[in-house]
Protein backbone atom coordinates (compact mmCIF):
# COMPACT_ATOMS: atom_id res chain seq x y z
CA UNK A 1 0.00 0.00 0.00
CA UNK A 2 1.31 3.45 -0.83
CA UNK A 3 1.48 6.06 1.92
CA UNK A 4 -1.65 7.90 0.86
CA UNK A 5 -3.71 4.74 0.42
CA UNK A 6 -2.61 3.54 3.86
CA UNK A 7 -3.66 6.87 5.38
CA UNK A 8 -7.07 6.63 3.72
CA UNK A 9 -7.50 3.06 4.94
CA UNK A 10 -6.66 4.15 8.48
CA UNK A 11 -9.09 7.07 8.29
CA UNK A 12 -11.84 4.80 7.00
CA UNK A 13 -11.18 2.23 9.72
CA UNK A 14 -11.38 4.96 12.34
CA UNK A 15 -14.72 6.17 10.93
CA UNK A 16 -16.06 2.64 10.86
CA UNK A 17 -15.04 2.21 14.50
CA UNK A 18 -16.79 5.50 15.37
CA UNK A 19 -19.95 4.28 13.59
CA UNK A 20 -19.79 0.98 15.48
CA UNK A 21 -19.48 2.84 18.80
CA UNK A 22 -22.62 4.83 17.97
CA UNK A 23 -24.39 1.63 16.99
CA UNK A 24 -23.36 0.11 20.34
CA UNK A 25 -24.87 3.14 22.10
CA UNK A 26 -28.15 2.53 20.26
CA UNK A 27 -27.99 -1.16 21.23
CA UNK A 28 -27.51 -0.03 24.83
CA UNK A 29 -30.77 1.91 24.42
CA UNK A 30 -32.59 -1.36 23.75
CA UNK A 31 -32.10 -1.82 19.99
CA UNK A 32 -31.21 -5.08 18.22
CA UNK A 33 -28.27 -4.82 15.79
CA UNK A 34 -29.37 -5.34 12.17
CA UNK A 35 -27.86 -5.31 8.68
CA UNK A 36 -29.37 -4.26 5.33
CA UNK A 37 -28.47 -5.21 1.75
CA UNK A 38 -26.63 -2.56 -0.22
CA UNK A 39 -28.57 -3.43 -3.39
CA UNK A 40 -32.21 -2.52 -2.86
CA UNK A 41 -35.08 -3.21 -5.30
CA UNK A 42 -35.73 0.03 -7.21
CA UNK A 43 -39.50 -0.36 -7.51
CA UNK A 44 -40.12 -0.12 -3.75
CA UNK A 45 -38.17 3.13 -3.52
CA UNK A 46 -39.73 4.52 -6.71
CA UNK A 47 -43.24 3.80 -5.44
CA UNK A 48 -42.42 5.50 -2.13
CA UNK A 49 -40.48 8.52 -3.28
CA UNK A 50 -41.47 8.90 -6.95
CA UNK A 51 -39.16 9.48 -9.89
CA UNK A 52 -37.26 12.20 -7.99
CA UNK A 53 -35.36 9.43 -6.17
CA UNK A 54 -33.53 8.69 -9.44
CA UNK A 55 -31.76 12.02 -9.14
CA UNK A 56 -30.77 11.23 -5.53
CA UNK A 57 -29.94 7.53 -5.46
CA UNK A 58 -27.52 5.51 -7.58
CA UNK A 59 -29.49 3.34 -9.95
CA UNK A 60 -27.95 0.17 -11.29
CA UNK A 61 -29.20 -2.66 -13.42
CA UNK A 62 -29.02 -6.41 -13.35
CA UNK A 63 -30.32 -8.55 -16.24
CA UNK A 64 -32.27 -10.74 -13.79
CA UNK A 65 -33.03 -8.54 -10.80
CA UNK A 66 -33.90 -5.58 -13.02
CA UNK A 67 -33.38 -2.09 -11.70
CA UNK A 68 -31.74 -1.82 -8.31
CA UNK A 69 -30.54 1.06 -6.18
CA UNK A 70 -27.58 1.38 -3.88
CA UNK A 71 -29.31 1.91 -0.54
CA UNK A 72 -29.90 5.66 -0.07
CA UNK A 73 -30.85 5.02 3.57
CA UNK A 74 -31.39 2.23 6.09
CA UNK A 75 -34.86 3.36 7.10
CA UNK A 76 -36.76 1.71 4.26
CA UNK A 77 -34.99 -1.70 4.32
CA UNK A 78 -35.13 -1.85 8.13
CA UNK A 79 -38.83 -0.88 8.15
CA UNK A 80 -39.58 -3.47 5.45
CA UNK A 81 -37.77 -6.21 7.36
CA UNK A 82 -39.68 -5.29 10.53
CA UNK A 83 -43.05 -5.24 8.74
CA UNK A 84 -42.34 -8.48 6.84
CA UNK A 85 -41.55 -10.22 10.13
CA UNK A 86 -44.98 -9.15 11.38
CA UNK A 87 -43.54 -8.10 14.72
CA UNK A 88 -45.08 -5.61 17.12
CA UNK A 89 -42.83 -3.19 18.99
CA UNK A 90 -39.08 -3.44 18.32
CA UNK A 91 -35.97 -1.27 18.07
CA UNK A 92 -33.12 -1.71 15.62
CA UNK A 93 -29.60 -0.29 15.41
CA UNK A 94 -27.36 -0.23 12.35
CA UNK A 95 -24.18 1.23 10.93
CA UNK A 96 -22.95 1.24 7.35
CA UNK A 97 -22.54 3.08 4.08
CA UNK A 98 -25.35 4.86 2.27
CA UNK A 99 -25.07 6.23 -1.26
CA UNK A 100 -26.47 9.48 -2.58
CA UNK A 101 -25.81 11.35 -5.80
CA UNK A 102 -24.56 14.85 -5.14
CA UNK A 103 -24.81 17.86 -7.39
CA UNK A 104 -21.80 18.53 -9.60
CA UNK A 105 -19.43 20.86 -7.81
CA UNK A 106 -20.76 19.81 -4.41
CA UNK A 107 -17.99 18.74 -2.05
CA UNK A 108 -20.33 16.38 -0.22
CA UNK A 109 -19.32 12.74 -0.63
CA UNK A 110 -21.65 10.40 -2.56
CA UNK A 111 -20.86 7.54 -0.17
CA UNK A 112 -20.84 8.00 3.59
CA UNK A 113 -21.34 6.11 6.84
CA UNK A 114 -24.50 6.35 8.88
CA UNK A 115 -25.21 4.96 12.33
CA UNK A 116 -28.84 4.96 13.32
CA UNK A 117 -31.77 3.63 15.26
CA UNK A 118 -35.36 2.85 14.21
CA UNK A 119 -38.09 2.45 16.82
CA UNK A 120 -41.38 0.74 15.91
CA UNK A 121 -44.63 0.48 17.83
CA UNK A 122 -44.10 3.46 20.09
CA UNK A 123 -46.33 6.48 19.51
CA UNK A 124 -46.71 9.76 21.32
CA UNK A 125 -44.61 12.55 22.77
CA UNK A 126 -42.82 10.28 25.26
CA UNK A 127 -41.23 8.17 22.50
CA UNK A 128 -40.40 11.33 20.50
CA UNK A 129 -38.69 12.85 23.54
CA UNK A 130 -36.80 9.66 24.35
CA UNK A 131 -35.33 9.31 20.84
CA UNK A 132 -34.39 13.00 20.69
CA UNK A 133 -32.79 12.87 24.16
CA UNK A 134 -30.74 9.86 23.10
CA UNK A 135 -29.29 11.81 20.18
CA UNK A 136 -28.79 14.92 22.32
CA UNK A 137 -26.79 12.89 24.81
CA UNK A 138 -24.63 11.18 22.17
CA UNK A 139 -23.94 14.54 20.52
CA UNK A 140 -23.38 16.51 23.73
CA UNK A 141 -19.55 16.56 23.25
CA UNK A 142 -19.97 18.41 19.95
CA UNK A 143 -20.71 22.02 19.13
CA UNK A 144 -24.11 21.63 17.47
CA UNK A 145 -27.46 23.42 17.46
CA UNK A 146 -30.66 21.41 17.54
CA UNK A 147 -33.63 22.31 15.34
CA UNK A 148 -37.02 20.62 15.58
CA UNK A 149 -40.15 20.77 13.50
CA UNK A 150 -43.51 19.09 13.37
CA UNK A 151 -45.11 18.18 10.07
CA UNK A 152 -48.08 16.94 12.14
CA UNK A 153 -48.85 20.54 13.05
CA UNK A 154 -48.91 21.55 9.37
CA UNK A 155 -51.07 18.53 8.54
CA UNK A 156 -53.48 19.48 11.35
CA UNK A 157 -53.68 23.03 9.98
CA UNK A 158 -54.59 21.68 6.53
CA UNK A 159 -57.14 19.35 8.12
CA UNK A 160 -58.65 22.32 9.96
CA UNK A 161 -59.30 24.50 6.90
CA UNK A 162 -62.96 25.20 6.14
CA UNK A 163 -62.94 23.43 2.80
CA UNK A 164 -63.75 20.15 1.09
CA UNK A 165 -62.13 16.81 1.87
CA UNK A 166 -60.81 16.65 -1.69
CA UNK A 167 -59.00 19.98 -1.30
CA UNK A 168 -57.53 18.92 2.03
CA UNK A 169 -56.30 15.68 0.48
CA UNK A 170 -54.69 17.61 -2.40
CA UNK A 171 -52.89 19.92 0.04
CA UNK A 172 -51.84 17.01 2.26
CA UNK A 173 -50.39 15.21 -0.76
CA UNK A 174 -48.17 18.22 -1.55
CA UNK A 175 -47.12 19.07 2.00
CA UNK A 176 -43.56 18.11 0.96
CA UNK A 177 -43.59 20.18 -2.26
CA UNK A 178 -43.81 23.81 -1.13
CA UNK A 179 -44.25 25.26 -4.63
CA UNK A 180 -47.18 23.07 -5.59
CA UNK A 181 -48.65 23.47 -2.09
CA UNK A 182 -48.53 27.26 -2.53
CA UNK A 183 -50.11 27.03 -6.01
CA UNK A 184 -52.95 24.88 -4.65
CA UNK A 185 -53.55 27.26 -1.76
CA UNK A 186 -53.72 30.18 -4.24
CA UNK A 187 -56.23 28.32 -6.35
CA UNK A 188 -58.39 27.35 -3.37
CA UNK A 189 -58.45 30.95 -2.15
CA UNK A 190 -60.27 32.13 -5.30
CA UNK A 191 -63.55 31.09 -6.94
CA UNK A 192 -62.86 28.07 -9.17
CA UNK A 193 -62.60 28.39 -12.96
CA UNK A 194 -65.37 26.98 -15.16
CA UNK A 195 -64.71 23.48 -16.55
CA UNK A 196 -66.37 21.32 -19.21
CA UNK A 197 -69.65 19.66 -18.15
CA UNK A 198 -69.16 16.36 -16.37
CA UNK A 199 -70.91 14.13 -18.91
CA UNK A 200 -70.44 12.48 -22.30
CA UNK A 201 -71.11 15.76 -24.17
CA UNK A 202 -67.72 17.03 -22.96
CA UNK A 203 -66.05 14.35 -25.08
CA UNK A 204 -67.89 15.23 -28.30
CA UNK A 205 -65.52 16.03 -31.17
CA UNK A 206 -62.51 14.78 -29.23
CA UNK A 207 -60.13 12.00 -30.21
CA UNK A 208 -60.87 8.32 -29.51
CA UNK A 209 -60.29 6.62 -26.18
CA UNK A 210 -56.62 5.50 -26.14
CA UNK A 211 -54.46 4.27 -23.29
CA UNK A 212 -55.20 2.77 -19.89
CA UNK A 213 -56.64 5.97 -18.43
CA UNK A 214 -60.18 5.47 -19.66
CA UNK A 215 -63.26 7.50 -20.39
CA UNK A 216 -64.68 6.81 -16.92
CA UNK A 217 -61.45 8.10 -15.33
CA UNK A 218 -61.92 11.34 -17.29
CA UNK A 219 -65.61 11.62 -16.40
CA UNK A 220 -64.90 10.87 -12.73
CA UNK A 221 -62.34 13.66 -12.61
CA UNK A 222 -64.69 16.06 -14.43
CA UNK A 223 -67.30 15.30 -11.76
CA UNK A 224 -64.70 15.95 -9.06
CA UNK A 225 -63.76 19.24 -10.76
CA UNK A 226 -67.43 20.26 -10.94
CA UNK A 227 -67.78 19.53 -7.24
CA UNK A 228 -64.63 21.55 -6.58
CA UNK A 229 -65.95 24.48 -8.66
CA UNK A 230 -69.01 24.63 -6.40
CA UNK A 231 -66.89 24.83 -3.22
CA UNK A 232 -66.51 28.28 -1.69
CA UNK A 233 -62.99 29.73 -1.43
CA UNK A 234 -60.97 29.03 1.72
CA UNK A 235 -61.56 32.04 4.05
CA UNK A 236 -58.72 34.62 3.86
CA UNK A 237 -58.26 34.54 7.66
CA UNK A 238 -57.46 30.82 7.49
CA UNK A 239 -54.98 31.29 4.62
CA UNK A 240 -53.30 34.06 6.62
CA UNK A 241 -53.17 31.79 9.68
CA UNK A 242 -51.59 28.98 7.64
CA UNK A 243 -49.05 31.45 6.22
CA UNK A 244 -48.25 32.65 9.74
CA UNK A 245 -47.80 29.05 10.90
CA UNK A 246 -45.30 28.37 8.09
CA UNK A 247 -43.27 31.36 9.32
CA UNK A 248 -42.84 30.22 12.95
CA UNK A 249 -39.17 29.91 13.89
CA UNK A 250 -38.51 30.44 17.60
CA UNK A 251 -37.41 28.87 20.87
CA UNK A 252 -40.03 26.35 22.09
CA UNK A 253 -41.62 28.70 24.63
CA UNK A 254 -42.08 31.56 22.15
CA UNK A 255 -43.08 29.19 19.35
CA UNK A 256 -45.85 27.74 21.54
CA UNK A 257 -47.18 31.19 22.31
CA UNK A 258 -47.12 32.09 18.59
CA UNK A 259 -48.92 28.94 17.45
CA UNK A 260 -51.53 29.39 20.20
CA UNK A 261 -52.25 32.84 18.79
CA UNK A 262 -52.54 31.33 15.32
CA UNK A 263 -54.99 28.74 16.68
CA UNK A 264 -57.49 31.55 17.27
CA UNK A 265 -58.11 31.49 13.49
CA UNK A 266 -57.41 27.75 13.10
CA UNK A 267 -58.92 26.17 16.23
CA UNK A 268 -58.51 22.67 14.76
CA UNK A 269 -54.76 22.73 15.44
CA UNK A 270 -55.32 22.88 19.23
CA UNK A 271 -54.79 19.10 19.78
CA UNK A 272 -51.60 19.20 17.68
CA UNK A 273 -50.38 22.13 19.80
CA UNK A 274 -51.10 20.14 22.96
CA UNK A 275 -48.97 17.29 21.56
CA UNK A 276 -46.22 19.76 20.75
CA UNK A 277 -46.34 21.15 24.30
CA UNK A 278 -46.32 17.63 25.76
CA UNK A 279 -43.28 16.78 23.64
CA UNK A 280 -41.43 19.88 24.86
CA UNK A 281 -42.32 18.90 28.45
CA UNK A 282 -40.97 15.42 27.74
CA UNK A 283 -37.74 16.85 26.33
CA UNK A 284 -37.35 19.11 29.33
CA UNK A 285 -37.94 16.17 31.70
CA UNK A 286 -35.30 14.20 29.77
CA UNK A 287 -32.78 16.94 30.56
CA UNK A 288 -32.83 18.83 27.23
CA UNK A 289 -32.26 22.57 27.61
CA UNK A 290 -35.24 24.01 25.71
CA UNK A 291 -33.73 27.49 25.52
CA UNK A 292 -31.02 26.08 23.26
CA UNK A 293 -33.55 24.46 20.94
CA UNK A 294 -35.17 26.06 17.87
CA UNK A 295 -38.63 25.12 16.67
CA UNK A 296 -39.07 25.73 12.94
CA UNK A 297 -42.54 24.92 11.56
CA UNK A 298 -41.26 24.06 8.07
CA UNK A 299 -38.15 22.16 9.20
CA UNK A 300 -37.73 18.96 7.20
CA UNK A 301 -40.47 19.86 4.77
CA UNK A 302 -38.29 19.45 1.70
CA UNK A 303 -36.28 16.40 2.74
CA UNK A 304 -36.60 13.18 0.85
CA UNK A 305 -37.58 11.13 3.87
CA UNK A 306 -41.10 12.44 4.19
CA UNK A 307 -41.27 12.54 7.91
CA UNK A 308 -44.81 13.31 8.97
CA UNK A 309 -44.64 14.26 12.63
CA UNK A 310 -41.83 15.30 14.95
CA UNK A 311 -38.60 16.07 13.06
CA UNK A 312 -35.18 16.97 14.41
CA UNK A 313 -31.74 17.87 13.17
CA UNK A 314 -28.38 18.62 14.77
CA UNK A 315 -26.32 21.03 12.74
CA UNK A 316 -23.82 23.87 12.71
CA UNK A 317 -25.69 27.02 11.64
CA UNK A 318 -22.36 28.71 10.83
CA UNK A 319 -21.35 25.90 8.46
CA UNK A 320 -23.89 25.88 5.61
CA UNK A 321 -21.45 23.71 3.67
CA UNK A 322 -22.05 20.83 6.09
CA UNK A 323 -25.20 18.72 5.91
CA UNK A 324 -26.91 18.06 9.27
CA UNK A 325 -24.63 15.93 11.45
CA UNK A 326 -27.68 14.04 12.70
CA UNK A 327 -31.32 13.98 11.68
CA UNK A 328 -34.42 12.01 12.39
CA UNK A 329 -38.10 12.05 12.96
CA UNK A 330 -41.39 10.26 12.96
CA UNK A 331 -42.49 8.52 9.76
CA UNK A 332 -45.77 6.77 10.60
CA UNK A 333 -47.12 7.45 7.06
CA UNK A 334 -44.08 5.86 5.39
CA UNK A 335 -44.57 2.78 7.57
CA UNK A 336 -48.22 2.67 6.49
CA UNK A 337 -47.25 3.10 2.83
CA UNK A 338 -44.99 0.04 3.20
CA UNK A 339 -47.07 -2.06 5.56
CA UNK A 340 -50.69 -1.00 5.11
CA UNK A 341 -53.11 0.72 7.46
CA UNK A 342 -52.22 -1.52 10.42
CA UNK A 343 -48.50 -0.71 10.34
CA UNK A 344 -47.00 0.34 13.68
CA UNK A 345 -45.93 3.93 14.31
CA UNK A 346 -42.25 4.54 13.64
CA UNK A 347 -39.54 6.99 14.60
CA UNK A 348 -35.82 6.96 13.94
CA UNK A 349 -32.68 8.94 13.38
CA UNK A 350 -29.13 8.78 12.04
CA UNK A 351 -25.73 10.26 12.79
CA UNK A 352 -23.00 10.80 10.18
CA UNK A 353 -19.77 9.91 11.98
CA UNK A 354 -17.53 11.47 9.31
CA UNK A 355 -18.79 14.92 10.26
CA UNK A 356 -18.10 14.60 13.99
CA UNK A 357 -14.39 15.52 13.86
CA UNK A 358 -15.36 18.74 12.05
CA UNK A 359 -17.69 19.86 14.83
CA UNK A 360 -15.54 19.19 17.89
CA UNK A 361 -15.90 21.86 20.54
Amino acid sequence: MTGKAALRANAKAALRAAAERLKAAFVAAGAEPVEADILQPADVLLDLYGEDIRARAFVTHDPVMGEAMLRPDFTVPVARAHLDAGRAAARYAYAGEVFRQQETGSRRPPEFLQAGIEVFGEAGPAADAEVFALFAELLAPYDLAAVTGDIGLLAAAVEGLSTTGARKAALRRHLWRPRRFRALLERFSRPAAARPPADETALAGRGPEVGLRRRDDVLARLAALAEDAAAPPVPPAEIAALDALLEVRETPEKALSQVRNIAVDLPAIAPAIDRLAARFDGLSAAGVDLDRLTFEATYGRTTLEYYDGFIFGFLRPDRPDLPPVASGGRYDALARALGGAGAPPAIGGVIRPALLPEVQR
Binding site: E51, R177, F181, R187, V210, G211, D217
Partner: protein, 229 residues
Protein backbone atom coordinates in the same frame (compact mmCIF):
# COMPACT_ATOMS: atom_id res chain seq x y z
CA UNK B 1 -2.62 20.70 -33.03
CA UNK B 2 -5.92 20.36 -34.82
CA UNK B 3 -9.32 21.51 -33.70
CA UNK B 4 -11.77 18.64 -33.67
CA UNK B 5 -15.24 19.55 -34.98
CA UNK B 6 -18.01 16.98 -34.40
CA UNK B 7 -20.92 16.90 -36.85
CA UNK B 8 -23.91 14.52 -37.12
CA UNK B 9 -22.96 11.63 -39.37
CA UNK B 10 -26.18 11.19 -41.34
CA UNK B 11 -29.57 12.46 -42.38
CA UNK B 12 -31.04 15.93 -42.63
CA UNK B 13 -29.10 17.17 -39.62
CA UNK B 14 -25.83 16.35 -41.43
CA UNK B 15 -26.96 17.89 -44.74
CA UNK B 16 -28.22 21.08 -43.07
CA UNK B 17 -25.00 21.38 -41.08
CA UNK B 18 -22.91 20.98 -44.26
CA UNK B 19 -25.09 23.66 -45.93
CA UNK B 20 -24.75 26.04 -42.98
CA UNK B 21 -20.95 25.81 -42.98
CA UNK B 22 -20.81 25.84 -46.81
CA UNK B 23 -22.71 29.13 -47.01
CA UNK B 24 -20.05 30.63 -44.74
CA UNK B 25 -17.12 29.49 -46.82
CA UNK B 26 -16.19 26.34 -44.94
CA UNK B 27 -16.83 23.24 -47.00
CA UNK B 28 -17.51 20.06 -45.05
CA UNK B 29 -17.84 16.75 -46.84
CA UNK B 30 -17.53 13.03 -46.36
CA UNK B 31 -14.35 11.50 -47.62
CA UNK B 32 -14.31 8.67 -50.16
CA UNK B 33 -17.20 6.24 -50.26
CA UNK B 34 -20.63 7.36 -49.11
CA UNK B 35 -20.55 4.85 -46.26
CA UNK B 36 -17.22 5.91 -44.86
CA UNK B 37 -17.50 8.04 -41.75
CA UNK B 38 -14.44 10.18 -42.40
CA UNK B 39 -14.73 13.87 -43.14
CA UNK B 40 -12.89 16.55 -45.08
CA UNK B 41 -12.73 20.26 -44.28
CA UNK B 42 -11.87 22.79 -46.97
CA UNK B 43 -11.60 26.55 -46.72
CA UNK B 44 -9.78 26.66 -43.41
CA UNK B 45 -6.72 24.89 -42.01
CA UNK B 46 -6.24 23.05 -38.74
CA UNK B 47 -9.77 21.65 -38.42
CA UNK B 48 -10.52 17.92 -38.27
CA UNK B 49 -14.06 16.80 -39.11
CA UNK B 50 -15.38 14.02 -36.87
CA UNK B 51 -18.63 12.42 -38.03
CA UNK B 52 -20.68 10.74 -35.32
CA UNK B 53 -24.22 10.29 -34.07
CA UNK B 54 -25.87 13.53 -32.90
CA UNK B 55 -26.70 11.81 -29.61
CA UNK B 56 -23.05 11.08 -28.90
CA UNK B 57 -21.74 14.57 -29.63
CA UNK B 58 -22.73 15.98 -26.18
CA UNK B 59 -20.79 13.23 -24.41
CA UNK B 60 -17.69 13.81 -26.56
CA UNK B 61 -17.86 17.58 -25.93
CA UNK B 62 -18.36 16.96 -22.21
CA UNK B 63 -15.33 14.67 -22.12
CA UNK B 64 -13.25 17.21 -24.05
CA UNK B 65 -12.53 14.86 -26.94
CA UNK B 66 -14.19 17.35 -29.32
CA UNK B 67 -13.44 21.07 -29.32
CA UNK B 68 -16.59 22.02 -31.21
CA UNK B 69 -19.73 20.10 -32.03
CA UNK B 70 -23.07 20.49 -33.77
CA UNK B 71 -26.08 18.88 -32.09
CA UNK B 72 -29.58 19.67 -30.82
CA UNK B 73 -30.14 21.64 -27.64
CA UNK B 74 -32.38 18.76 -26.47
CA UNK B 75 -29.42 16.34 -26.75
CA UNK B 76 -27.10 18.71 -24.87
CA UNK B 77 -29.52 19.16 -21.98
CA UNK B 78 -30.49 15.49 -21.76
CA UNK B 79 -27.08 13.89 -22.09
CA UNK B 80 -24.89 16.37 -20.21
CA UNK B 81 -25.56 16.93 -16.52
CA UNK B 82 -24.77 20.57 -15.64
CA UNK B 83 -24.16 21.22 -19.33
CA UNK B 84 -23.50 24.92 -18.83
CA UNK B 85 -20.35 24.07 -16.87
CA UNK B 86 -19.06 21.85 -19.63
CA UNK B 87 -20.06 23.41 -22.95
CA UNK B 88 -20.75 26.90 -24.22
CA UNK B 89 -23.25 27.65 -27.00
CA UNK B 90 -21.45 29.45 -29.84
CA UNK B 91 -24.30 29.85 -32.34
CA UNK B 92 -27.85 28.73 -33.00
CA UNK B 93 -27.98 27.34 -36.51
CA UNK B 94 -31.62 28.04 -37.34
CA UNK B 95 -32.62 24.47 -38.24
CA UNK B 96 -33.64 21.31 -36.44
CA UNK B 97 -36.31 23.23 -34.52
CA UNK B 98 -38.38 21.07 -32.23
CA UNK B 99 -40.27 21.51 -28.98
CA UNK B 100 -40.05 18.96 -26.19
CA UNK B 101 -43.61 18.75 -24.87
CA UNK B 102 -45.75 16.69 -22.53
CA UNK B 103 -48.73 15.33 -24.45
CA UNK B 104 -51.84 13.47 -23.31
CA UNK B 105 -54.70 11.76 -25.17
CA UNK B 106 -56.95 14.38 -26.77
CA UNK B 107 -60.05 12.89 -25.13
CA UNK B 108 -58.69 13.78 -21.65
CA UNK B 109 -60.92 16.87 -21.57
CA UNK B 110 -60.18 17.23 -17.85
CA UNK B 111 -56.44 17.72 -18.45
CA UNK B 112 -55.18 20.94 -20.04
CA UNK B 113 -52.40 22.07 -17.71
CA UNK B 114 -49.65 20.55 -15.56
CA UNK B 115 -51.84 21.22 -12.54
CA UNK B 116 -54.56 19.06 -14.14
CA UNK B 117 -51.98 16.43 -15.02
CA UNK B 118 -50.86 16.25 -11.39
CA UNK B 119 -54.49 15.96 -10.25
CA UNK B 120 -55.18 13.25 -12.83
CA UNK B 121 -52.06 11.35 -11.70
CA UNK B 122 -53.25 11.42 -8.08
CA UNK B 123 -56.73 10.20 -9.05
CA UNK B 124 -55.29 7.51 -11.34
CA UNK B 125 -53.04 6.15 -8.59
CA UNK B 126 -55.88 6.22 -6.06
CA UNK B 127 -58.14 4.34 -8.49
CA UNK B 128 -55.76 1.91 -10.16
CA UNK B 129 -52.91 1.65 -7.66
CA UNK B 130 -50.19 2.53 -10.15
CA UNK B 131 -48.42 5.72 -11.11
CA UNK B 132 -49.37 7.46 -14.36
CA UNK B 133 -46.72 6.49 -16.94
CA UNK B 134 -44.99 8.95 -19.26
CA UNK B 135 -43.03 7.45 -22.17
CA UNK B 136 -39.91 9.39 -23.13
CA UNK B 137 -36.27 9.20 -24.03
CA UNK B 138 -35.60 12.53 -22.28
CA UNK B 139 -35.56 11.17 -18.73
CA UNK B 140 -33.40 13.78 -17.08
CA UNK B 141 -34.98 16.90 -18.59
CA UNK B 142 -38.53 15.64 -18.03
CA UNK B 143 -37.87 14.61 -14.43
CA UNK B 144 -36.24 17.97 -13.66
CA UNK B 145 -39.15 19.83 -15.25
CA UNK B 146 -41.78 17.87 -13.34
CA UNK B 147 -39.88 18.12 -10.07
CA UNK B 148 -39.69 21.87 -10.49
CA UNK B 149 -43.42 22.00 -11.25
CA UNK B 150 -44.16 19.83 -8.19
CA UNK B 151 -45.88 17.05 -10.15
CA UNK B 152 -46.04 13.70 -8.31
CA UNK B 153 -47.31 10.15 -8.81
CA UNK B 154 -45.94 9.67 -12.31
CA UNK B 155 -43.47 7.09 -13.65
CA UNK B 156 -41.10 7.51 -16.57
CA UNK B 157 -41.05 4.68 -19.09
CA UNK B 158 -38.18 4.47 -21.55
CA UNK B 159 -39.11 4.85 -25.21
CA UNK B 160 -36.34 5.32 -27.76
CA UNK B 161 -38.59 5.68 -30.79
CA UNK B 162 -42.21 5.73 -32.05
CA UNK B 163 -43.04 7.27 -28.69
CA UNK B 164 -46.38 8.63 -29.92
CA UNK B 165 -47.58 5.05 -30.32
CA UNK B 166 -46.93 4.01 -26.73
CA UNK B 167 -50.28 5.32 -25.46
CA UNK B 168 -52.31 3.33 -27.98
CA UNK B 169 -50.13 0.32 -27.18
CA UNK B 170 -50.84 0.80 -23.47
CA UNK B 171 -47.18 1.04 -22.54
CA UNK B 172 -47.77 4.54 -21.16
CA UNK B 173 -50.67 6.89 -20.48
CA UNK B 174 -48.89 10.05 -21.69
CA UNK B 175 -45.68 10.99 -23.50
CA UNK B 176 -42.90 13.56 -23.40
CA UNK B 177 -41.33 13.90 -26.84
CA UNK B 178 -40.15 16.38 -29.44
CA UNK B 179 -42.63 17.72 -31.95
CA UNK B 180 -42.22 20.10 -34.85
CA UNK B 181 -45.66 20.63 -36.36
CA UNK B 182 -47.76 18.60 -33.94
CA UNK B 183 -49.01 16.44 -36.85
CA UNK B 184 -47.66 13.18 -35.40
CA UNK B 185 -49.25 13.99 -32.06
CA UNK B 186 -52.62 14.63 -33.74
CA UNK B 187 -52.36 11.49 -35.87
CA UNK B 188 -51.93 9.51 -32.66
CA UNK B 189 -54.84 11.29 -30.92
CA UNK B 190 -52.54 13.20 -28.56
CA UNK B 191 -52.44 16.88 -27.56
CA UNK B 192 -49.75 18.92 -25.80
CA UNK B 193 -50.47 20.45 -22.40
CA UNK B 194 -50.86 24.24 -22.56
CA UNK B 195 -48.00 24.77 -20.09
CA UNK B 196 -46.19 21.51 -20.83
CA UNK B 197 -43.47 22.81 -23.17
CA UNK B 198 -40.26 21.69 -21.53
CA UNK B 199 -37.76 22.98 -24.05
CA UNK B 200 -37.63 24.79 -27.39
CA UNK B 201 -34.78 23.07 -29.16
CA UNK B 202 -32.80 23.71 -32.34
CA UNK B 203 -29.42 22.69 -33.71
CA UNK B 204 -26.50 24.62 -32.28
CA UNK B 205 -22.74 24.89 -32.46
CA UNK B 206 -21.24 24.20 -29.04
CA UNK B 207 -17.72 24.76 -27.71
CA UNK B 208 -16.31 22.34 -25.16
CA UNK B 209 -15.05 23.90 -21.93
CA UNK B 210 -13.37 20.59 -21.09
CA UNK B 211 -11.13 20.18 -24.18
CA UNK B 212 -7.46 21.15 -24.18
CA UNK B 213 -7.40 24.58 -25.78
CA UNK B 214 -3.79 25.25 -26.63
CA UNK B 215 -2.84 25.73 -30.28
CA UNK B 216 -6.53 25.38 -31.13
CA UNK B 217 -7.43 28.83 -29.82
CA UNK B 218 -6.08 30.55 -32.94
CA UNK B 219 -7.88 28.10 -35.20
CA UNK B 220 -11.08 28.76 -33.24
CA UNK B 221 -10.66 32.52 -33.66
CA UNK B 222 -10.11 32.09 -37.41
CA UNK B 223 -13.10 29.74 -37.72
CA UNK B 224 -15.40 32.00 -35.72
CA UNK B 225 -14.33 34.97 -37.86
CA UNK B 226 -14.98 33.01 -41.05
CA UNK B 227 -18.37 31.78 -39.87
CA UNK B 228 -19.34 35.22 -38.63
CA UNK B 229 -20.71 33.95 -35.32
Amino acid sequence: MTLKLGVPSKGRLMEKTFDWFGKRGVTLSRAGADREYAGVVEGIGGVDLVLLSAGEIPRELGAGRLHLGVTGRDMIEEKLAFWEDRVEPVAELGFGQADLVIAVPDFWVDVETLDDFDGAAAAFRARHGTRLRIATKYHRIVREFLRHAGVADYALVDSQGATEGTVKNEIAEAIADITTTGATLRDNHLRALTDGTILKSQAGLYRSRMAAWEGERETLAALVARLGV
